[in-house]
């Protein structure tokens, strides 16, 4: 409260009034206002496609607002940056939502990208200094990544850490964080929050965008809500709560995160065949000696810290990465999975970790993105029957409530959440027996997230065996019947729904001791 | 005099049997003219019991320069050069000269200190074609010229043709580039036939035989074979074959003799090696092969 006064007292460092933005006809921002004060964390809230990123891209000079459509006042004078460079020079720092890294370069170069590297008097880059500077940023973030590592060898989460490091590597007075934690796990998030608090002390104004409610209340001082590109409300965080915020965002009431009614416990099902059984699976690098079963009709959550090996686990089950040892049984019978094609044949489906790189065909229509895996179902002899395709696509679009102008709209025009639903739909279309979900709701807004959770849960009730990786603990706890916790490629914990708490999961995730695990099993 | 000369050569070849190593670099091997030249060279070298290395430069002077350099490395005794460009090759010739390897140029002259040139006069080839047309058309008419790749040999032919019609009432109504091959020759002729309606063309001068044949195909497909005739350059087997056909509209071709040329060059070269003196330029005359003297023409 005290600091609240302080904030109001000061004049805003950045003030945007009546901002409009139109992309080829479609208006994305309508007369939006926002005020940022030095030393505050300002939560920018809104559903997928509300216009958060667009607004921030205007602040950071990526886009220009529409002609004569309102004003941006930075410090004392009115401004319009013509490119990211100028904005950055003026002290605007950004962590963009989409990872913007050059995979061919080292972590160091990605962190320092766009700045002048340390150079000698002949203008020659001094590499040892470059790496040292990067190392400093990383250590200050509590990350032990090696500066000389090639970014292409990093997992998505690790890449996000690099993205953050870049924004922290130079002095910013306004720091924009567009979903920085989308793929982070609590350990990194806590570290990040300490950094944010530190910056706040130094009087940096921070815009914080996230779809994870609990974070908002943990870190932010004030909030602004956008809906369909319109400014809805701003105010101090103390004067709101989850339900109220959600209501402002989606324009209707919606009780927090979806909670799956406790699924009937395994004991009852023990005698049945597990839909998926993994025995001593290893690739000797990221996955070590993993064994577990998943039964039809249950949702099994996989929790763990960044780099725990969850993604690699599902990738190897799905035949996307090589397995060195161990066996996989589907519905009791031993199977050899050498490629995704085999996996699909055995009724396994994988919704991959990163939509953009591994899931979406951005040049293609929504309907093809949904049905590409099942075209053969929709052809007479050789010829594809587009009508039956449209028909089927419409069904999925309806059932999964995918928001799209039409089935033929290019999927690149959809918001993150809806793109994710389309990818899920693609895998449902293959009628899988085992569904592997890797971070299925990353960057998906609360409304869509809830819908996706409902869908997953209903699928399980319909007899599907679901393995869900998630780094968002409330999500894992919310909809899993059982939870495995991984640490450095090994399963370190196994929790029933009723015994799962964030604390216990974190305990195992950080490599909790064995006897406790035994007591669980 | 052919048999005599080669007869002499056999003797003079005897005393250097086996150890004579000759390098021959040709403008290219994409044109039958040069292909036949290379074959004749191969056979004749066999006769002489000499080893011959044959290279083609793809009409790239830099490549030809490299090839001469490689010849020097290989320590050939004699270089036969069919230059891509007469001045441009001078540098390489000088290198060979410095290495004490005599260079005889074939068909196209060359600078840089060559021992001698054996050439069939390309300028004359063009001139003969022109004279034929002047006489046939009575010094008046519209002709089409199909040019070729910009190399001296070709340019001399065109020059010979154009200089000769200079002053007559023969007008060049279209001049396009057939790039020396049948394909492009056919294409440009098709378009020229579009631009010049029936009855407007009296004759076509093609820079070489492949183009001449291409032009004839275009003419036949347009059903205009009776309107005008074509004169080519080379006297290549397939043009002779074409001329022998009924109703061929290829009236003539300024026949050169690649085989003869390269053999002569080889003889001259060996004379140089034997320390005999030779005349700087030996011209193998070109004669216009027409329907009249077609049967007496030996061919390549």
């Amino acid at each position: 409260m005290i600091m609240q006064e302080k904030v109001e007292a000061r004049t805003p460092i950045l003030k945007m009034e009546g901002i409009n933005k139109t992309f080829s006809g479609t208006t994305v921002l309508k007369n939006v206002n926002i005020e940022l004060y030095p030393g505050e964390v300002h939560a920018l809230m809104g559903e997928n496609g509300a216009g958060k990123s667009t607004l921030m891209k205007i602040v950071s000079g990526v886009y220009m607002p529409d002609q004569d459509s309102g004003t941006i006042t930075y410090k004392t004078d009115q401004v319009t940056w013509k490119d990211p460079m100028t904005a950055r020079k003026m002290g605007i720092g950004v962590i963009h939502q989409e990872l913007n890294l050059a995979p061919n370069l080292t972590i160091s170069e990605n962190i320092l990208m766009g700045t002048k590297y340390p150079r000698n008097k002949f203008g020659m880059v001094r590499w040892e200094k470059v790496h040292r500077r990067a190392k400093e940023v990383l250590t200050s973030m509590g990350s032990d990544l090696k500066p000389e590592t090639l970014v292409s060898t990093l997992s998505v989460a690790q890449q996000q850490m690099v993205e953050i490091a870049r924004a922290l590597s130079y002095k910013a007075e306004v720091l924009i964080m567009d979903e920085p934690t989308a793929s982070l796990t609590d350990k990194e998030i806590d570290r990040l929050f300490e950094i944010i608090k530190d910056l706040r002390k130094q009087g940096v104004a921070i815009v914080y965008i996230s779809h994870r409610m609990e974070e908002i209340f943990k870190i932010s001082d004030r909030y602004t809500v956008l809906r369909d590109g319109e400014w809805i409300k701003s105010g101090p965080i103390q004067e709101t709560n989850t339900d109220h915020l959600v209501n402002l965002m989606v324009g209707r009431d919606l009780k927090g995160l979806f909670q799956r009614s406790k699924g009937n416990d395994i004991k009852a099902r023990d005698k049945e065949n597990p839909a998926l059984e993994v025995k001593n699976l290893s690739d000797n690098t990221f996955v070590r000696d993993l064994s577990f079963q998943i039964y039809p009709g249950e949702i099994v959550g996989f929790a763990g810290l960044v780099g725990a090996g969850r993604t690699e686990l599902v990738r190897s089950i799905f035949g996307a990465s090589d397995i060195l040892q161990g066996e996989i049984r589907v519905a009791g019978e031993k199977v050899q999975i050498k490629s995704p094609i085999d996996a699909i044949r055995y009724g396994i489906a994988l919704v991959p970790e990163s939509r953009k790189e591994q899931g979406l065909f951005l040049d293609m229509s929504v309907k093809e993105n949904i049905l590409l895996a099942e075209l053969k179902k929709h052809k007479k002899s050789l010829k594809i029957n587009w009508n039956s395709l449209n028909h089927a696509a419409d069904v999925y679009i309806k059932n999964l409530k995918i928001k799209t102008a039409s089935p033929d709209q290019s999927i690149s025009g959809l918001s993150g959440g809806n793109q994710q639903k389309a990818v899920i739909a693609r895998w449902l279309s293959t009628n899988p027996k085992v569904l592997l979900l890797d971070e299925p709701t990353r960057g998906v807004d609360i409304g869509a997230k809830t819908e996706i959770h409902k869908i997953i849960s209903e699928l399980a009730d319909a007899g599907l065996a679901v393995l869900m990786i998630s780094s968002e603990l409330p999500e894992v706890i919310g909809i899993s019947d059982r939870i495995f916790v991984m640490n450095e490629g090994r399963i370190t914990g196994h929790l029933q729904k009723n015994e799962a708490t964030q604390e216990r999961i974190m305990h195992y995730a950080t490599g909790g001791n064995k006897d406790e695990i035994n007591s669980v099993d | 005099g052919n048999n005599e000369t080669s007869g002499q050569e056999n003797e003079s070849a005897d005393n250097k049997k086996g150890d004579l190593k000759i390098g021959l670099t040709l403008n290219n091997l994409a044109n039958p003219f040069f292909v036949s030249m290379s074959e004749a060279a191969g056979e004749y070298a066999e006769e002489l019991g000499a080893e011959i290395i044959i290279q083609a430069a793809d009409a790239d002077l830099a490549k030809q320069t490299s090839q001469i350099e490689d010849f020097i490395t290989q320590g050939v005794d004699l270089i036969l050069l069919n230059a891509v460009d007469s001045e441009g090759i001078a540098g390489a010739v000088a290198q060979a000269d410095a290495a004490g390897i005599p260079v005889i140029s074939v068909d196209v002259g060359a600078g840089g200190g060559i021992e001698g040139t054996v050439t069939s006069d390309n300028y004359q080839a063009g001139a003969l074609a022109a004279e034929y047309m002047i006489e046939d058309l009575g010094g008046k008419g519209n002709v089409v010229v199909i040019d070729g790749p910009p190399v001296t040999a070709v340019k001399d032919r065109i020059a010979g043709f154009e200089d000769t019609i200079e002053g007559t009432d023969i007008k060049v109504i279209a001049k396009q580039n057939g790039e020396g091959n049948r394909e492009k020759g056919l294409q440009v002729m098709e378009s020229i036939l579009q631009a010049n309606k029936p009855g407007t063309i009296d004759a076509v001068f093609a820079n070489n035989d492949p183009v001449a044949i291409g032009a004839e195909i275009a003419q036949q497909q347009a059903g205009r074979q009776d309107e005008f005739y074509i004169v080519g350059v080379d006297g290549s087997p397939d043009v002779i074959k074409a001329m022998k056909k009924e109703g061929s509209s290829i009236a003539g071709t300024s026949a050169q003799n690649p085989g003869e040329m390269v053999k002569k060059a080889m003889d001259v070269g060996i004379q140089v090696l034997d320390g005999e003196s030779i005349e700087e330029v030996i011209k193998i005359p070109v004669d216009l092969v027409t329907q009249d003297n077609l049967d007496s023409y030996k061919g390549w």
């Binding site: 039409s406 | 049948r182 492949p210 195909i217």
Partner: protein
């Protein structure tokens, strides 16, 4: 929850077809093509003013006949480029196929069979390209560059460097004949483009091509047989180049070992003029034929105008940039 899994349900209300032309990449490329069509028309207007008899029906068939071979190559090049690949070997394949098929027909075998041998030779080269590119994973550019070299060599070796003369009239017919006073190659070209259009739009193979070009990793994870598809794509490109070679041979009454030189560049240029992206995933066969025609009209028009060969090159280069430039500025 059956509903999600089963698809036998009422379709949602709105008819897709309508909106297809409102939004999305369908729309956008429809625009691209329209753009290029406009430019083609502009070009024709200019030519018809400046070049004598440009608009004569005989000249128009002439243009179509002259582009037919490049067009057939460009059709194959389109699917290669759609997958994000490239095929530099097509020009040399034209030569090899021409030589092989003509020499075959000289042995007196059935001319149809001889032609098929030529086409087969092209298919074989394409298949080899595909294996090295897709299965072994070597860069398409270098693999097809190598093929371009050795296939040209083979064409020379088999023919001994001389053009091989084509006697068979059946064979000649495919290049020089005409039905209802329209030259055969034009029918072939049209046929190839119709088939290719149907393949790309209505077959799984076609859709997989777009998918692979758009996001190969995703395609792999979706269970598409990426390698197999790519091998087929290159094989088809080779096959069509082989067909082109046969047509050209029929047109030239001979198999020319020098034929098809630089055709690969014309084909690629046409594909890109037609709106395809070298990065793959974006493009349409309709665009390609427009690109081919633009190139053809330029060459033909300049020749009709009797512009000197040297200036033709200058102008041609200028027109190509202007074409893409205008198209860009328009949108």
């Amino acid at each position: 929850m059956k509903s999600i899994l089963s698809t036998n349900q009422q379709p949602a209300a709105q008819p897709p077809v309508q909106s297809r032309f409102k939004l999305g990449h369908h729309a956008s490329t429809v625009w691209n093509q329209l753009g290029m069509v406009i430019i083609l028309i502009l070009l024709c207007i200019v030519m018809s003013v400046m070049a004598p008899n440009f608009l004569d029906s005989s000249n128009l068939t002439n243009i179509l006949k002259q582009v037919s071979v490049t067009a057939i190559l460009a059709a194959g090049m389109t699917i290669v480029i759609l997958t994000g690949g490239i095929d530099l070997s097509v020009g040399s394949i034209v030569a090899l196929s021409g030589v092989v098929s003509v020499m075959a027909s000289q042995t007196g075998i059935n001319p149809i069979l001889a032609m098929l041998l030529g086409v087969g030779a092209g298919y074989l080269v394409g298949f080899i390209n595909g294996v090295f590119t897709a299965k072994i994973g070597l860069p398409a550019f270098i693999v097809t560059l190598a093929s371009m070299t050795y296939v040209r060599g083979l064409a020379y070796v088999t023919s001994g460097g001389y053009p091989v003369v084509l006697e068979s009239n059946t064979f000649r017919f495919i290049g020089s004949g005409s039905i209802l006073s329209i030259p055969t190659p034009i029918y072939l070209m049209i046929l190839v483009y119709i088939v290719m259009f149907l393949v790309l739009k209505y077959t799984m193979f076609g859709r997989h091509i777009y998918a692979i070009g758009g996001n190969e990793e995703a395609a792999r994870l979706t269970g598409i047989k990426v390698k197999k598809t790519l091998v087929n794509v290159y094989s088809i490109s080779g096959l069509l180049a082989g067909l082109g070679g046969v047509v050209l041979a029929g047109r030239l009454y001979s198999g020319q070992p020098t034929a098809g030189n630089m055709y690969e560049l014309d084909a690629i240029a046409a594909v890109i003029l037609g709106g395809s992206k070298l990065t793959g995933g974006v493009g349409k066969i309709q665009g390609t034929i427009i690109g081919v025609l633009i190139m053809g009209v330029i060459t033909n028009g300049l020749t009709l105008m009797d512009v000197s060969y040297y200036w033709q090159l200058v102008v041609k280069g200028g027109v190509i940039v202007s074409a893409v430039l205008i198209d860009r500025l328009r949108s």
